[in-house]
Structures are given as structure tokens and as C-alpha cells.
Amino acid sequence: MGTYWSSYRHPENFPDRASEPTFDPLYGFPNGRKPREMIATVEEMEAAKLDLIDRDYCAHKLLEFRKCRSENWPWVANCKHEKHAYLTCEFDDFVLRMKEHEREKRLKDRQMRLNAKNKALEFSE
């Protein structure tokens, strides 16, 4: 509701779903940010012939899930733990994307306010 309202009031500050972040990722973090680590290797992903969209930071969980399935098939209901682990990883990735979006939006709002203040200062001088 609130996000929809802000997208209606300031559509220029609402990042498009296809646009990448425009600000420096480390801007505003005095203690820095931990980089995301990629656990599955390129050779593993290529050997498993993963889709390109699946070669993200949760690929190791996906590979474990697929391994479990291929071992337990046709009783793949035994792979509930691996499946849940993979989906939880994907969920956390999605939450991180939402946080990135919110950060981008707030930085853009801040930029808009700074521009307005600078303009006001110019006029007053």
C-alpha cells in the first residue's frame, strides 16, 4: 500500500523492474558490506547443465536438491529437506532484492530532496 502510493506520487523515483542499481553499492555503509559468495563452481554448473537463470547464488542448494532427487527417484518425497533448503535460499535472495530496491528508492528520494534544496539555495542567492 505504502509502496504503491509512493510509486504513484513519485514514479520517477520508483526503480523499474528491469533497471540495475545506479548508486555505488558501498555508499552509506561505514562498516562496509560483506560480498555474496558463490559456492557452486562454474564446472559443476556446466556439468549439471543448469539454466542460465538458475546459476545464481543458490545454485549449490539446487544441485544438492537435484542430486537427492536423482538418488531417491521415484520416492522423491524423501527430498523434502533439500527442497525446503533450496526454496529458503531463494526466498532470502528475493528479500535481498527487495531490500536493494528499497535502498535504491530511498537514495533517489534523497537525491530529489537535495536537488530541490540546492535549487532553493540558488534562487535565494
Binding site: T3, Y4, S7, Y8, P11, F14, P15, D16, R17, A18, S19, E20, P21, P25, L26, F29, N31, G32, R33, K34, P35, R36, M38, L52, I53, R55, D56, Y57, D93, F94, L96, R97, M98, K99, E100, H101, E102, E104, K105
Partner: protein, 174 residues
């Protein structure tokens, strides 16, 4: 005259009980240049000759207006569909509700018994049909354009793939 002769020939074959199919110009003998209607009749003599060719009284005979219909001298018959004709009358050809020598409507294949009933009042008037169709589809299109500027997507950034560079979490670096 040749047109009627071909129909008579086919009419005789129906006496054995076989269905005759003279729908439009799909005759079993193929197309003949004599079957084609003549040019638009301009003089009185041409009108009478055309009426005689189509087995009509000269007072009844009325060609299509000479305005790019391309019908030539083919008569303009009243629009009565096959369904509206009397089912209990003793037609010569009951399957087509037609008597021997009757001129055939120019669009007989469209207003036959199992096709469009041109002489009946439609349950929903044609104007209403058109307006409702255009109105419904038009309103759907209108809603698309009205809401185009207010589209809202899930508030997420694109998916982060390691092949496209370095990405960070929100935790402090060690």
C-alpha cells in the same frame, strides 16, 4: 436461358430421390460462360429480354443498381430466407423450398435454410450487437491506456547473477 437449362437438367435428376445441390455456382457440370449474367440492361428491350431469360415477369424484374455490385442484369429478388418460407406448401423441390423455374436469389447460399435467416427479426438487434461488441472490447482497450501510466511492478531489483559482477549482502564486512 442456359442457366435455367442447367438447373432443369439437375432438377430431373432429383426425381430419383437424390439431393440436388445447386448452391450458388457449384454445379456438377462446371462453369460455362453462358451461365454468367449479361451486362446491366439500359434499354427497355434489354430489360424485357433479361426478364425472359430469368423467367420473370417484366414488371417484377428489377436488376441490382449499376453501382459496382458487378451483378450485371441478375435480378434483385426480395430477401426471404429459406427458413421463412412456408414448410407446408407443396414445393416442387421441398429441400430447397423452391418451385420449378423460380429464379434463384443472388445470395441463395447465404440465406438458405441452415444459414442466415435474413427475413427474421433478430432477437438482439444488429445495432445493439455491434455496439456491445465494440463497446466491450473498446472499454478493455480503454482501461489499458488509462492505467498505462499507473502500472506497478513487484518492488524488487533484477535477479543478481554472479556472472554479472560482484554483489553484496547487507551485513557488515569482516
Amino acid at each position: 436461358m442456359a442457366l435455367l437449362r442447367s438447373l432443369v437438367r439437375k432438377g430431373l435428376s432429383s426425381s430419383t430421390g437424390k439431393n440436388i445441390t445447386f448452391q450458388a455456382l457449384r454445379s456438377a457440370g462446371g462453369w460455362n460462360k453462358d451461365f454468367a449474367p449479361g451486362p446491366f440492361p439500359k434499354t427497355e428491350e434489354e430489360r424485357r429480354a433479361a426478364a425472359k431469360r430469368y423467367n420473370m415477369h417484366p414488371d417484377e424484374y428489377q436488376p441490382y443498381p449499376d453501382e459496382s455490385y458487378g451483378m450485371g442484369d441478375y435480378p434483385k429478388l426480395p430477401d426471404i430466407s429459406g427458413e421463412s418460407k412456408d414448410p407446408y406448401y407443396n414445393w416442387d423441390f421441398p429441400e430447397h423450398k423452391r418451385n420449378f423455374g423460380d429464379p434463384i436469389h443472388a445470395h441463395a447460399d447465404a440465406i438458405g435454410e441452415d444459414r442466415w435467416n435474413i427475413s427474421a427479426k433478430p432477437k438482439i438487434p444488429y445495432k445493439t450487437q455491434i455496439l456491445v461488441s465494440i463497446g466491450f472490447i473498446g472499454s478493455l482497450i480503454g482501461i489499458y491506456f488509462l492505467t498505462y501510466d499507473f502500472t506497478y511492478y513487484q518492488p524488487v531489483m533484477p535477479k543478481q547473477l554472479p556472472a554479472n559482477g560482484v554483489h553484496y549482502t547487507f551485513e557488515p564486512a569482516e
